[in-house]
């Protein structure tokens, strides 16, 4: 079903069994919250004011059995009669990679976006930013498809009921809308920081940074070192080396998280052994055995 009939009437929910989700938050609160309000306007423009009202009553009465918020889809069974329920789905187009790239680039320009997202908040002006990048935070109603299995035009209130329950989810977790649009918040934050790293440092790396005392890491200003320009500040002395188990790092890494099929760990084990032997040879006889044997 698409573009449901706005005039259909919602029956009073009858006795229900099993789990159900009741709308608990006041309608006005939902209509005032940043994401929920846009969401409700969008759903209302699809189902019409009457069905929206019927859906509200049904949602408050627990007609929606469960809610599933996925990438590109909000779905859940809505009560049909005392025994059965009908699967209902609201399909939203996801933002394509180019769109996300534009958004990431825009958000990487100001730290406030990532900072707010990290705190779990929707930054003020996010909708404007999305729109400015040609990708509204929620798609226009004509791009949204609704679906009630085995249902007809009169079942449109069920879409509204699901919409009300989803609005409550967006009220509690406004950032869930990002996952619906194709990118969970955590991923978006990482992409923003990744992009910022590239912008500021020209690169980003997979290994963690080495944490050093900042004064030691920078060294004294060169201009203060003119009288000791060629001299070491202190002497390098030999340090006692801890004993390391064979393949210690590889074993601590465990199976790769890259989801590849090639047996990476096995090959790395061989590489660790061979590289260790190569390094030992270099240390024992840097110029080769013949040159060093005297």
């Amino acid at each position: 079903m698409s573009r449901a009939d706005l005039s259909s009437k919602a029956p009073r929910p009858s006795r229900r069994r099993g789990g159900r989700v009741r709308l608990k938050i006041e309608e006005q609160q939902l209509r005032d919250a940043p994401v929920s309000s846009i969401w409700l306007k969008t759903i209302e423009s699809i189902v019409g004011a009457k069905s929206m009202h019927d859906g509200l009553l049904a949602a408050k009465d627990g007609a929606v059995r469960s809610l599933r918020v996925d990438r590109g889809e909000i779905a859940g069974p809505v009560q049909a009669d005392a025994e059965t329920s009908l699967p209902v789905a609201i399909e939203l187009p996801t933002i394509d990679e180019a769109g996300w790239q534009r958004l990431v680039e825009a958000m990487a320009c100001e730290a406030i976006w990532a900072a707010k997202l990290l705190e779990g908040e929707i930054p003020a002006g996010l909708g404007d930013l999305f729109r400015g990048c040609g990708t509204p935070l929620l798609p226009d109603p004509e791009h949204i498809k609704t679906h009630v299995e085995r249902g007809g035009r009169r079942d449109v209130w069920r879409v509204a009921a699901l919409g009300w329950i989803a609005s409550e989810r967006f009220f509690r977790d406004p950032l869930a809308v990002l996952a619906v649009r194709g990118m969970p918040c955590g991923d978006l934050v990482e992409r923003i920081s990744h992009h910022r790293a590239l912008r500021t440092q020209g690169e980003t790396v997979a290994h963690p940074p080495v944490v050093l005392d900042s004064a030691v890491a920078s060294g004294p200003p060169l201009a203060d070192c003119l009288e000791i320009w060629w001299r070491p500040h202190s002497h390098v002395h030999e340090l006692e080396r801890a004993s390391h188990a064979s393949h210690a790092l590889l074993r601590r890494l465990g199976p790769s998280t890259l989801e590849g099929k090639f047996p990476l760990s096995g090959l790395l084990a061989t590489i660790y052994d061979e590289a260790a032997a190569e390094a030992a040879r270099l240390l024992d006889a840097p110029l080769g055995d013949e040159d060093a044997s005297g």
Binding site: E203, H207, A217, G219, W229, P232, H244, A275, S293
Partner: protein, 1026 residues
């Protein structure tokens, strides 16, 4: 690495101040004036030069109004450089040579290990980068590196290998390296900027990647992914890691996915408890009775102080101790979280996770062993604290071998002594610590099939494969006939490689027992002091003679490594006399010495053993070939120099020497040099090395000396480095150190002045003459002054004559000190080395060269010294030489030193924390009133001819508060007026009576003939250019 050219400095110096030509106004970025040109340093790169390419770069260097500063090494080698105005950093252009990181490492490590001999002096920056290269190789050797990914600014993804630097060990090393980084290492003006860490990190990363990648390319590892799905993320990453091309064929969203997944994977290496105040603690306790389970109890410990810990019971009962230790953390959450993480690493912990309040786990012996041997290091480097029984890992708790040698008495040996080639018999004993294990016991252990067993109440670690080999060894129980060299080699390495069992010790009877026990155990035959020796050997010197005689009888080489001042020379001379007491036909001894001590040896031979005949094989007129052979055969001792051995290999090699002796044997510390190789190739029945510093800096020096004494005994140089040098130097490997000590102890006799036995023997003050020769430059100047002034003296009379004589004497004494003192004015730089390459300052004077050698020994033993001179300029030069040649700071006190500064210097020198162990003093300023008892060596670089004045100076160190023997070294230039006056004083002639207390004035009363005779340069004065 900065390279500059001293010759260019000299050339520029001819045209005025070398720094004035530093730049030209029309060049926006001027060339640095004395940076080395490519052709000048290319040969120094060794094999790396073949792989290098030309280039140029911009550097920042300090300069002042006169131009860029020379390096500290160059400045010290020319005795200091004047400054003008405030310095600032300026940019210059320099020629460069670039090579691959792994070739760079090869070069740096070869310099560090001294496999590569540089003609040039390595700067501090080169030595710093060599330490960086060593760190990289060490990290790779112990498998502390990871694959990583980098996304460049253009979005492309590159794979590379990188050292893992996130552990505590690396943090300490990085902090030390960063603190030591000389500023010049940050002087390159490029994208890496001024900060130390980005430059160090770039080097660490480039070296690691190239080291691993070079091996992978050579071994064609890329074939492993041939034909594999290129879109597979593993294959994608490996394609950038295994070959020369680092770029990954990936774009867009996939780029982020790959790098994100790699980051997530690598983050598993993060320390569990990083940033947390508590860590998981595991305590393993063995059972009281074998067969019962081991107990592993869990708890938490404070990260800052692991000794502060609580048990899991404390945690679950929420005791006050738990609350106090946990602070703001919830100890129950921490315990469970950390336990869960630890269980991922060591699955044996998993049963604890199914308990409501886990606190203790019973382990089988096999599980306990796997924790001890395999999982403990993993858990520890992941942030857990694992407490294990204190006996774990000790040599006393492992099965090992003891070699039992049967050698017979010395008198049983047939024929001439064969040294290390002597025949012995040996067999093996299996033991735990000192306790031998019978074959039956070993079989019982095998049947128990347990990795940890109790033997007589002691837990021991049993490796079943080693045990099987030990049983096999005993079952065969063969008595092997072998040479001593082969037996020692088997004991020191081969048997362990074959069986995996360490050799815990060697037991012997007969002469090998005496060898192993050393000279103090009474097993070495006592020799009488040679009757002809003019002097009395001190008790410890008698022991030295006995030991030398014993080695001699066995045909073994040895190293007499007594501290400086304990009389190594007289012990050797006594040996030469002893062997001639009973056998007049004994063959000649070849004595190889540094040029600067040839005179010392001839004087000592004349003094202690005038009946011994000697020949100095040196100089352009030295006999060669047959002439040399007959000359050498006719004398007891032939003295030659290190420099000549490599040149006269043929002549020296044609003689069957009874013995070769190396004095200052540290001269052969660099094994690859032609000189060291030539010396080792000399054919001699016996070899003795004399040195006060058998190991100055590195253990490889000990290898060189032992390789000379007993060739092949310590294996090849790379073997020695692998087995001993690196484990001991880098990792403080106690077992390797103990093993090496056991091996070399029989062949090295070293007594320190601080040894109780020696202290009791030594007088409170030991006075030694240090004889030096003049260099050619000094001799020319000396002769020139005598020739030009003696005539003037003859033509004048009265006060004018006396004035001329005094002026001449002053000049001659200064020339004996250093030719630089004869140059007019204070401008050392422009006067230096006209017409020849700029030499090291110390090389231009026989005295200063000798002083540097002696001071090196003082420093090596951690002692302090006073150096007195009459001349302020000489003091300045000595300070520069000490800094340049010995790399250590010195203090210089002279008449112009303000009173406050003077006291600061004295306090610093006397302070145990002071870092200036050498105090140069002008005789007038420092000869009286100072308390400098921190020194126990006093050097009189030039002479006052007044024993009272010299004694007053000596008394700065030899006074109340001094607890050690004071060694006084008086320098004398042979063949010059110095030696003749010194001898007169020694012989207490009538003339000497006139001398004492009158300074130089008595000489003015001599007639011209006497004066000429006094001043004449004798043949022995000059160091002959070989």
């Amino acid at each position: 690495m900065w390279a500059e050219c001293t010759d260019r400095w000299r050339l520029l110096a001819r045209g005025g101040d070398p720094r004035s030509t530093a730049e030209r106004a029309d060049e926006p970025l001027p060339w640095h004036p004395y940076v080395a040109r490519r052709s000048e340093f290319l040969h120094s790169l060794g094999p790396a030069s073949a792989f290098s390419v030309d280039g140029e770069c911009a550097v920042r260097m300090p300069r002042d109004l006169l131009g860029p500063f020379p390096s500290d090494r160059l400045a010290a080698s020319v005795g200091g450089v004047d400054r003008s105005g405030e310095p600032w950093l300026a940019r210059f252009r320099v020629a460069t040579r670039s090579f691959s990181p792994v070739e760079g490492m090869r070069f740096l490590l070869a310099v560090k290990s001294r496999d590569l001999q540089l003609d040039e002096e390595p700067g501090h920056d080169l030595l710093f980068w060599a330490d960086v290269a060593a760190l990289v190789a060490e990290r790779c050797e112990c498998q502390r590196f990871v694959p990583s990914l980098r996304q460049d600014g253009d979005g492309s993804l590159r794979a590379f290998w990188r050292p893992w630097l996130q552990d505590e060990e690396a943090a300490d090393q990085l902090t030390m390296l960063l603190s030591a980084m000389p500023p010049v290492a940050r002087g390159v003006d490029d994208d890496l900027g001024d900060a130390a860490w980005p430059r160090l990190e770039a080097a660490l990363e480039a070296m690691t990647d190239d080291l691993v990648r070079t091996m992978l390319r050579r071994e064609s590892f890329i074939d492993a992914i041939d034909g594999r799905d290129a879109a597979d993320p593993h294959v994608l990453w490996l394609a950038g890691l295994l070959d020369g091309n680092q770029l990954l064929s990936v774009e867009g969203e996939s780029t982020i996915k790959v790098i994100r997944a790699a980051r997530a994977w690598i983050s598993r290496l993060d320390d569990f408890a990083l940033g947390q105040s508590l860590r998981l603690r595991l305590d393993l306790v063995p059972p009281a009775i074998e067969g019962e389970p081991w107990s592993l109890s869990i708890g938490l410990a404070a990260t800052d102080d692991p000794t502060l810990c609580i048990t899991a019971e404390d945690v679950w009962r929420a005791t006050p101790q738990a609350a106090q230790l946990a602070g703001e953390s919830d100890p129950q959450d921490v315990l469970l979280t950390e336990l869960g993480r630890a269980a991922q690493l060591w699955p044996a912990l998993e049963p604890l996770l199914s308990e409501a309040t886990p606190s203790q786990l019973d382990l089988s012996t096999t599980e306990a062993w796997s924790l001890l041997g395999e999982y403990r290091p993993l858990l520890e480097e992941s942030g857990c604290i694992v407490a294990v029984p204190s006996w774990w890992g000790g040599q006393q708790n492992k099965i090992g071998l003891r070699m039992i040698i049967e050698s017979g008495g010395l008198d049983d040996l047939d024929g001439p002594p064969r040294g290390m080639a002597s025949s012995i018999r040996y067999r093996w004993q299996v033991a735990v610590g000192d306790q031998p294990l019978s074959l039956e016991s070993l079989r019982r252990l095998r049947d128990q099939r347990s990795p940890l067993v109790q033997v007589d109440g002691r837990w021991i670690e049993v490796d079943q494969s080693q045990l099987a080999k030990a049983i096999d060894l005993l079952e065969r129980q063969e008595e092997t006939e072998s040479t001593l060299l082969d037996a020692m080699r088997v004991a020191s390495e081969e048997i362990e490689e074959e069986t995996g069992l360490a050799v815990l010790g060697i037991e012997a009877d007969g002469w090998v027992e005496a060898l192993l026990n050393g000279p103090d155990e009474g097993t070495v035959k006592e020799l009488p002091q040679p009757e002809r020796l003019r002097g009395t050997l001190r008790p410890y010197q008698r022991i030295g003679l006995n030991w030398l005689g014993f080695l001699d009888r066995c045909g073994l080489g040895g190293c007499l490594a007594d501290d400086m001042g304990l009389g190594k020379t007289v012990q050797l001379i006594a040996l030469l006399q002893h062997e001639r007491t009973h056998d007049r036909t004994v063959g000649p001894t070849l004595l190889v010495v540094p040029t600067s001590v040839v005179g010392n040896w001839t004087r000592e031979l004349e003094h202690f053993a005038p009946e011994l005949s000697w020949h100095v094989q040196h100089g352009p007129d030295r006999p060669l070939g047959e002439a040399f052979r007959s000359r050498a055969a006719a004398v007891d001792v032939t003295i030659t120099t290190y420099a000549l051995v490599a040149r006269d290999t043929e002549s020296l090699g044609g003689i069957p020497w009874h013995r070769v002796v190396l004095d200052e044997a540290q001269y052969i510390k660099n094994p690859p040099t032609k000189q060291a190789q030539a010396i080792r190739s000399i054919n001699a029945g016996r070899r003795i090395a004399l040195t006060g510093t058998p190991v100055e800096n590195r253990l490889s020096e000990l290898w060189s000396i032992m390789e000379f004494c007993n060739p092949g005994f310590l294996g090849t140089a790379p073997d020695f480095r692998r087995r001993f040098a690196r484990p001991i130097e880098r990792h403080r490997d106690v077992e390797a150190a103990s093993s090496l000590r056991g091996l070399v102890q029989p062949f090295v006799l070293r007594r320190l002045k601080t040894d109780r036995n020696v202290i009791d023997d030594l007088p409170e003050c030991v006075e030694t003459r240090e004889y030096a020769t003049l260099t050619a430059e000094q001799a020319t100047l000396y002769q020139g002054v005598v020739d030009s002034m003696i005539g003037q003296v003859d033509r004048t009379e009265g006060i004018q004559r006396r004035g001329l004589i005094l002026a001449m004497l002053a000049k001659l004494k200064q020339i004996c000190d250093h030719p630089e003192l004869s140059a007019p004015g204070d401008d050392i730089v422009t006067a230096a080395g006209q017409g020849e390459s700029l030499k090291r300052l110390s090389e231009r004077s026989g005295k200063s060269r000798r002083l540097m050698t002696l001071l090196e020994e003082v420093l090596a033993t951690g002692e302090r010294a006073l150096v007195f001179t009459q001349y302020r300029r000489m003091g300045k030069l000595l300070s520069a030489m000490i800094e340049h040649d010995l790399g250590c700071r010195s203090l210089f006190l002279h008449g112009g030193t303000p009173m406050k500064k003077r006291q600061e210097m004295i306090d610093e020198f006397q302070s145990p924390e002071g870092d200036a162990p050498i105090f140069v003093l002008s005789l007038k300023a420092g000869g009286l009133g100072l308390n400098l008892t921190a020194a126990n060596h006093v050097f009189h670089f030039d002479r006052w001819w007044n024993p009272a004045v010299e004694r007053q100076a000596t008394d700065r160190a030899f006074r109340i508060g001094q607890t050690r023997t004071v060694h006084v070294h008086k320098f004398v230039c042979m063949g010059t007026l110095e030696e003749r006056i010194d001898r007169m004083i020694e012989e207490k002639t009538q003339l000497a009576e006139q001398i004492i207390g009158t300074g130089d004035s008595w000489l003015t009363e001599m007639d011209t003939r006497e004066l000429r005779d006094m001043l004449l340069l004798r043949g022995s004065a000059m160091e002959v250019e070989a």
